[in-house]
C-alpha cells in the first residue's frame, strides 16, 4: 500500500470517528438532554417512553437527515467544481438554491389553505416543488451559458446573474405572505433541515443510494474533465455530452438536498475543497472524504444552531454560511 492510499485510509478513519462523536453529541444535547449512557440503554430497548419518543422520532431522523443532506451537497459541489474547473463553484452561489426556494415560496403563496402555513399536506408536495425549481434553474443557467460549448467562467457569471434575478422575484412573493408564513419561508430559505420525518429520510436515502455510486463510477470522467474540455476531447471523452450528464447528476443531488434541507450555501464548496487539500484532486480518492466532511460540518452546524441561542433555533444553513464564508473569502484571495 503506497503513501497516498495510507493517507486516504487514515483520513477516512479519522473523519468517521469524528462523525460518530458528532452523532452522539447531536443525540445528547437539546431541550431534553439525554446522556450517552441513556442513549445506549435505549438502543438496547430500555428507557422511558418520553425519551424514546425524543430520540427515535425527533433526534435520530434529524441526525440522519443532516448526514444525508451533507453528503448530497458535498458531492454535488465536487461535481460542479470539476466541470466548471473552478474551485469556487457551489449550488448556492450558482442560484440553484434560490431557484428551489422560489418554487417553494410560489407553492406557499398560491396554495394558502385555511391554516395558511406549511401544513402537513403541503409537506408532502414541497420537496417536489423544490426539486423542480432547482432543476429548472439549472436548465436555465445551462441554456444561457451555452455558446458553442461550455465555458466555466461564463457558467458562474450567468449563475450569479440568475441568482440576483430570482432573489428579486423571491422577495416580492415573500412580502405577500402572512408574517407567520414569511418567517417559515425565511427559515426554510436559510436551510433549516426541516424534513425530519422518517418518510423523507427514506426517500432521500433511496435516491442517494442510486446517485452516489453512479458518481463514483464517473470519477474517472470527472478527473479528465477537470483538465479542460480540449484535453478531454483529446483523450476521447465526448466532453459536452459528459458535461450534461454530470450537470444533471449534480443538480439532482443538490435539488434533493435543498428539497429536504432548505437552501444551504457554501457546504458544497468547502467540503470538497478541504477533502482535495487532504487527499489530492483524484475523484476516486476525494469523493468519500468530501462526503464525510459534508455530513460532519452540517451535523455540527445543526447542533450548534439548535443550542447556541436557545430558545431561538438558528437554521443549520445559517451556521454553515457564517463559518464557511470567511474560509471562502480566504480561498478567493489566494486563487490567481
Amino acid at each position: 500500500m503506497n503513501r497516498s492510499q495510507m493517507k486516504l485510509k487514515w483520513t477516512i478513519w479519522v473523519l468517521s470517528v469524528l462523525l460518530l462523536l458528532a452523532c452522539l453529541l447531536s443525540l445528547n444535547v437539546g431541550v431534553v438532554a439525554i446522556s450517552p449512557a441513556e442513549v445506549f440503554q435505549m438502543l438496547t430497548g430500555n428507557g422511558t417512553e418520553q425519551q424514546a419518543l425524543v430520540l427515535f422520532e425527533i433526534r435520530l431522523p434529524s441526525m440522519v437527515l443532516a448526514l444525508l443532506v451533507g453528503t448530497a451537497m458535498a458531492i454535488s459541489g465536487a461535481i460542479l467544481q470539476s466541470i466548471t474547473r473552478n474551485e469556487l463553484a457551489d449550488p448556492g452561489i450558482l442560484g440553484i438554491n434560490t431557484g428551489a426556494g422560489l418554487a417553494v415560496v410560489i407553492y406557499i403563496a398560491f396554495s394558502q389553505t385555511a391554516t395558511g402555513s406549511l401544513s402537513a399536506s403541503g409537506a408532502l408536495i414541497l420537496p417536489f416543488f423544490a426539486f423542480f425549481g432547482a432543476l429548472l434553474t439549472a436548465v436555465l443557467i445551462t441554456v444561457l451559458a451555452w455558446k458553442r460549448g461550455f465555458h466555466s467562467i461564463r457558467l458562474i457569471l450567468v449563475g450569479i446573474g440568475i441568482n440576483a434575478g430570482l432573489s428579486a422575484i423571491l422577495i416580492t412573493l415573500q412580502l405577500r405572505l402572512s408574517p407567520q408564513d414569511f418567517m417559515e419561508a425565511m427559515v426554510w430559505l436559510c436551510g433549516d433541515l426541516w424534513a425530519t420525518q422518517w418518510q423523507y429520510v427514506r426517500t432521500l436515502s433511496s435516491w442517494l443510494v442510486l446517485l452516489i455510486p453512479y458518481t463514483l463510477y464517473k470519477a474517472h470522467t470527472l478527473n479528465i474533465l477537470n483538465l479542460g474540455s480540449q484535453v478531454a476531447t483529446g483523450l476521447g471523452i465526448r466532453s459536452n455530452r459528459e458535461y450534461l450528464i454530470l450537470i444533471v447528476l449534480a443538480v439532482a443531488m443538490s435539488g434533493l438536498g435543498v428539497a429536504a434541507g432548505g437552501g444551504i450555501a457554501f457546504l458544497g464548496l468547502i467540503a470538497p475543497h478541504i477533502a482535495r487539500r487532504i487527499v489530492g484532486p483524484r475523484h476516486q480518492a476525494m469523493l468519500p472524504p468530501a462526503a464525510l466532511l459534508g455530513s460532519l460540518i452540517l451535523l455540527l452546524s445543526d447542533t450548534i444552531g439548535k443550542n447556541l441561542l436557545s430558545p431561538t433555533e438558528l437554521p443549520a444553513g445559517m451556521v454553515v454560511s457564517m463559518v464557511s464564508a470567511p474560509y471562502f473569502i480566504f480561498l478567493l484571495m489566494k486563487t490567481k
Binding site: 452561489i93 461564463r154 457569471l157 450567468v158 441568482n163 486563487t335
Partner: protein, 345 residues
C-alpha cells in the same frame, strides 16, 4: 464594439455636442417622467392640480397634500437615488476596471441591512436619522471590505473574482443579519427593507440624499479626468503624474456617500449602477467628463420610470422598485457576460 466605434469616429468637439444633446433630451425626459410620476397613482390627479399643489399650495386641499407630502418627495428621491446609483456604478467600474462592478452585487445592501438590524435589535426606539447613519456606515464598510479584499488578493482581480467576493460577503452578512433578526423577531421589517422600496419616502429622506449627494457629486466632478485615466490602466495614470492612491481614496469616499445614502433611505435597488454606465459609455465614449453627467441623467430617468412602473404593474399594490430594476438589469447583465470576450475570462 460600439464604444470603440464611437471613440474613433467622433472628435472631441463632436462628442461634446453629442453629450450636450443627450443631456438636454435626458433632462426633458426626467421632467416628463416626474410629471407622470406626480399625476399617476392610486388616485389619478389632473396635471393642473399638480401644478397648483407645487406652486400655489393650499394645505386644506387633499390632493395638494398628496402631491406635497407623498408624491413629490418620492419622485424627487427616485430621481436622486437613480443618479447616485448610476454614478457609483460608473466609479466602481473605473476603480476596479471591471465591467461587472455594481453596488448591489458587491454586498453593499447586505452591509447596510446588517448595520440596521444590529441597531434595531439593540436600540429599538432609534430615530430615523440614527437608522440612516447606521445603515450608511454598514454600506460603507461593506464596500470598503470588498475593495480591500480585491486589492489585497493575489493576481488580477477578474470580474468573476470580484463578483464572488461580493456574493460571499453578502451571504455572510445576510446570515448574520437573519440570525439576529430571528433572535429579536424583526424579520419582516427587514424583508421590506431588502426588497428596496420608495414607498415611504418623505422630505427627511430627500434632505439626507441632498446633503450626502452634494459632497459626493463635488468629489465626482473633481475626479472625472482622473477616473478616465484609471479606467485605461494604472500604468498610464502614473506616467501622467496622477496620485493613484489619492484618487482611489477619494473615489471610494464618493461611492460611500452616494451609495450609502441611497441604500440607507431606499434599501437595495440593484442593477441601476450596472446598466446605466454601460449605456452611457456606448453613447458618448469612455471619457468620464462626458459619460458621468450622462450616467447621472439616465440613472435618474431610469429610476423615476421604474418607480412609475412599480406602481402600475399590480395596482393598487406596489411592486418593490428593486424588483423592477432587477427585471431590467438581469437580462442586461447576462448580455454583458455572454458578449464580453476575453475580459471576463
Amino acid at each position: 464594439m460600439l464604444r470603440n466605434h464611437v471613440q474613433q469616429t467622433m472628435g472631441a468637439a463632436g462628442r461634446r455636442a453629442r453629450t450636450g444633446w443627450i443631456l438636454l433630451v435626458g433632462i426633458i425626459g426626467i421632467l416628463l417622467a416626474l410629471a407622470v410620476s406626480l399625476v399617476y397613482g392610486t388616485k389619478d390627479l389632473q396635471l393642473s392640480t399638480v401644478w397648483q399643489a407645487l406652486f400655489a399650495y393650499d394645505p386644506d386641499i387633499k390632493a395638494h397634500q398628496i402631491v406635497q407630502d407623498i408624491r413629490f418627495p418620492r419622485s424627487l428621491a427616485a430621481a436622486l437615488i437613480g443618479a447616485y446609483l448610476a454614478l457609483s456604478g460608473a466609479i466602481m467600474q473605473a476603480l476596479t476596471r471591471n465591467p461587472l462592478a455594481e453596488p448591489s452585487l458587491l454586498g453593499v445592501s447586505h452591509g447596510a441591512a446588517f448595520a440596521l438590524v444590529v441597531t434595531i435589535a439593540f436600540v429599538p426606539d432609534i430615530s430615523i436619522v440614527g437608522a440612516t447613519v447606521s445603515s450608511m456606515t454598514g454600506a460603507g464598510l461593506a464596500v470598503l471590505f470588498v475593495f480591500v479584499l480585491a486589492s489585497a488578493s493575489n493576481g488580477n482581480v477578474t470580474p468573476v473574482k470580484l463578483s464572488l467576493a461580493g456574493i460571499a460577503t453578502g451571504m455572510f452578512l445576510s446570515s448574520l443579519t437573519s440570525s439576529i433578526a430571528l433572535h429579536f423577531d424583526v424579520s419582516k421589517e427587514m424583508g421590506f427593507w431588502y426588497a428596496g422600496g420608495l414607498a415611504n419616502m418623505d422630505w427627511r429622506a430627500v434632505k439626507v440624499l441632498a446633503v450626502a449627494g452634494l459632497f459626493g457629486i463635488l468629489i465626482v466632478t473633481a475626479l472625472a479626468r482622473a477616473l478616465t485615466l484609471l479606467h485605461l490602466g494604472a500604468d498610464v495614470t502614473k506616467g501622467l503624474g496622477i496620485h493613484v492612491q489619492a484618487v482611489k481614496t477619494l473615489a471610494v469616499l464618493a461611492v460611500l456617500l452616494l451609495t450609502g445614502s441611497s441604500v440607507a433611505v431606499s434599501g437595495a435597488i440593484g442593477f441601476v449602477g450596472l446598466v446605466v454606465p454601460h449605456i452611457s459609455r456606448m453613447l458618448v465614449g469612455l471619457n468620464y467628463r462626458f459619460s458621468l453627467p450622462v450616467s447621472a441623467v439616465l440613472g435618474s430617468l431610469l429610476l423615476v420610470l421604474a418607480d412609475v412602473g412599480a406602481r402600475m404593474i399590480n395596482p393598487p399594490f406596489e411592486t418593490p422598485v428593486g424588483v423592477v430594476t432587477a427585471l431590467i438589469g438581469v437580462p442586461f447583465f447576462l448580455y454583458l457576460v455572454r458578449n464580453e470576450k476575453g475580459r471576463t475570462a
